[in-house]
């Protein structure tokens, strides 16, 4: 068996293109999957147009001044604004220029702030019935996925912006209430600073006046004092109430199942599991199929090597190569993602048992195919859907269908490999159960491979 193993390694060494493909394809694929899973979407490119004249770009909210240009910066910090040239253009032409950016593909959406934006925003703090300001969002809905993405992104951004404004307006409202309760100075246009008495001081004045009033008339003043007290107390309660309007519901999250694995750590486990699956399956199946493609199988099993020995050698070859590549991959990923190096012995255990299970599945595939190409195709056709099936999250499909996906996933090594790697890398749960699962699958697929070799070879 040793000579066969050395022969296979020599053949691999003399097939640099095949080895490069065998390593690069799964590694690139798995890294892409991991990246897609862990990386959030980039800032969307949005054509941003403010039609508000510069001289009306400043807004007074209460006793604070808000500069619209700085407001835009913080309001839309999650978008990548695409500049629109509005020099010498009318509002309509400027708006059209923003639309052109969307239609040309330079931006996925256009956000147009109308001329009366600051006027209407300022009107919210007065009794002016001009209605709230409206921001216009224009996007190309030729692709439903893109349309949904734009809708979600812009809505989320505007929700954050509205929340920021709500906070601002609440603070203004609270300062007004404070003036009513405690009194103070308010800056009123034209009249400038106006002194407000406030309920508290009014109450004190009435209290003093009460002493000079005949007892028969004090009852009326008592009613005024009582009203003032009640109004002050109730207005004091308005503060917490108004503040709660900013965020009426607070969310407290608790994960009932699964560990506390971060998305990037899980992506590492997923990337390694996908690479391990492809490398082990393709190598084990391909190496066994190669013996038949080269017509050497019959020569070998007529006394030189037992069929079981041949299966063990091929699965072992695949496991050794896959283990080495996956460990190197983990070391490489560890440079970018925070991994707990103290758990490295557990990585080796998880990887070893997982490669044994995939190696057994690989030789089972190799045993039913006569050519390397057929074996490789079958491996890819089998492994990709099973990997995706194992990643179907609960709640995304009907309960019965989810049970079916779990049952099918349990019959193949991908899911337990992912669980074992997640446990070994991230301490996300017990390692023993997925290892036992993988060991059982290794034995089952080993037996199937032996049966298939007798039946088909």
């Amino acid at each position: 068996m040793r000579w066969l193993l050395l022969k296979d390694l020599r053949i691999l060494r003399r097939s640099p293109g095949l080895v490069a493909l065998l390593i690069l394809y799964p590694v690139v694929l798995s890294v892409l999957i991991g990246f897609a899973l862990s990386a959030g979407p980039d800032k969307p490119k949005v054509a941003f147009v403010s039609l508000v004249p510069p001289e009306r770009g400043e807004l007074e909210l209460g006793n604070r001044k808000l500069d619209l240009s700085s407001y835009e910066g913080t309001l839309f910090d999650a978008i990548d604004p695409v500049p629109v040239d509005c020099d010498g253009k009318s509002s309509l032409q400027c708006r059209q220029a923003a639309i052109d950016k969307v239609e040309s593909g330079a931006a996925i959406a256009a956000l147009v702030i109308p001329e009366d934006f600051t006027d209407r925003l300022g009107g919210l703090q007065t009794l002016a019935l001009s209605g709230p300001p409206t921001i216009e969002v224009l996007y190309n809905a030729d692709d439903p996925v893109k349309a949904a993405y734009v809708e979600d992104t812009i809505k989320a951004e505007l929700r954050d912006a509205n929340l920021a404004l709500t906070t601002q307006f609440t603070e203004i409202g609270l300062s007004y209430l404070d003036l009513i309760v405690s009194g103070g100075t308010v800056d009123v246009p034209v009249l400038r600073d106006v002194e407000l008495l406030g309920l508290k001081r009014a109450e004190e004045i009435v209290e003093r006046a009460r002493r000079d009033v005949p007892p028969a008339r004090r009852a009326e003043l008592d009613r005024v004092i009582r009203f003032s007290e009640l109004a002050r107390e109730n207005l004091d309660l308005s503060g917490p109430l108004l503040r709660s309007l900013r965020e009426p519901i607070r969310i407290e999250q608790e994960a009932l199942d699964g560990g506390s694995t971060s998305l990037s750590s899980f992506a590492v486990a997923l990337a390694v599991a996908v690479s391990l699956m492809f490398i082990t399956l393709l190598l084990a199946a391909g190496a066994l199929a190669l013996e038949r493609e080269e017509n050497a199988f019959a020569r070998l099993v007529r006394g030189l090597v037992s069929r079981t020995g041949l299966l063990v050698e091929k699965a072992g070859l695949a496991a050794i190569c896959s283990l080495a590549i996956c460990l190197l991959m983990l070391v490489g990923l560890g440079l970018f993602v925070d991994l707990d190096w103290a758990r490295a012995p557990l990585w080796v255990v998880a990887l070893t048992v997982a490669t044994a299970a995939f190696g057994a599945l690989g030789v089972a595939v190799g045993a039913v195919t006569r050519e390397v190409r057929a074996a490789s195709l079958l491996c890819v056709m089998l492994s990709l859907p099973l990997a995706f099936l194992a990643l179907v999250p609960s709640g995304s499909v009907a309960p019965a269908l989810y049970d079916v996906t779990r049952a099918i996933s349990a019959l193949f090594p991908f899911r337990p490999t992912l669980d074992a790697l997640d446990a070994a890398l991230n301490d996300s749960g017990g390692l023993a159960a997925p290892l036992a699962h993988l060991a059982a699958l290794a034995l089952a697929f080993g037996a199937l491979a032996r049966l298939a070799l007798r039946r088909f070879a």
């Binding site: 000579w3 020599r10 003399r14 080269e294 099993v301 030189l304």
Partner: protein, 247 residues
């Protein structure tokens, strides 16, 4: 029972004896009690139409398939086997192929044996060439050399010259007959009746899983003549023989 000389009559001097070999694939009986014998250093050809059971018989003699009934006098390890298609690794050199199988055969001195086989096949100057780069004839010579690594006294060859050009065929036969001359029993199947007539001391005619004749090529012609048939060469005698028996 095959016509000509019987298997039993030569069994005492035979290097290889097979008796009553039966092989079934489902309901189909591929071999129906086939017996044969081959003496030491004797080249024996197994001939017959397509589907007669030639490859199946050789596979059973080589131990690749199991017979449903019957016996073979030697174990697979005692028989060298050369499959129809060259069974060697294209990514290994000629010497590496020989060395690998020598080690798997647990040959006492692998390097010396490899050198001997390279000399025997006349491929010493191609030892470092990848097997994939060899011509069909040279690949077949390496294929035969691998079959000889175990130094067995009996060598089975399944259509050894199929798909080779006449020059390559001649080189292969020169090599194989040289082995027979040195005492190796050579049993081969072939579709080429002229090759069978030229190189075999004895032929076994198989048809529909039955051994219909066992004897020299001349004896086959005589059998046809006795049955009132005429022939100008071995091929015509073979066709007349089968036709007379309804094949």
């Amino acid at each position: 029972m095959a016509e000509g000389s019987s298997a039993a009559s030569t069994a005492t001097q035979a290097a290889l004896v097979a008796e009553g070999i039966v092989k079934r694939f489902g309901d189909r009986e591929a071999l129906r009690g086939v017996s044969l014998s081959a003496a030491a250093g004797e080249p024996v050809a197994i001939i017959g139409p397509n589907g007669a059971g030639k490859t199946t018989l050789l596979s059973i003699l080589a131990g690749i398939q199991r017979a449903d009934a019957g016996s073979v006098s030697r174990s697979p390890r005692e028989i060298g086997w050369v499959p129809q298609q060259a069974a060697l690794y294209g990514k290994l050199t000629v010497a590496e192929n020989l060395r690998l199988f020598a080690r798997l055969e647990k040959v006492a001195e692998p390097e010396a044996t490899v050198a001997e086989m390279l000399e025997l096949t006349g491929l010493a100057d191609r030892a470092a060439d990848l097997a994939a780069e060899l011509s069909g004839g040279n690949r077949q010579r390496v294929n035969i050399a691998i079959g000889l690594l175990g130094r067995q006294d009996v060598l089975l060859l399944d259509e050894p010259t199929a798909a080779l050009d006449p020059r390559q065929r001649e080189r292969v036969w020169e090599f194989v007959l040289g082995l027979a001359a040195r005492g190796t029993t050579v049993v081969y199947s072939t579709h080429d009746l002229q090759e069978a007539a030229r190189h075999a001391e004895r032929v076994i005619v198989l048809a529909d899983g039955e051994a219909l004749f066992e004897g020299s090529p001349v004896a086959l012609g005589e059998t046809v003549e006795r049955e009132g048939g005429s022939h100008s060469d071995f091929e015509e005698a073979f066709v007349a023989f089968l036709r007379h028996r309804g094949h």
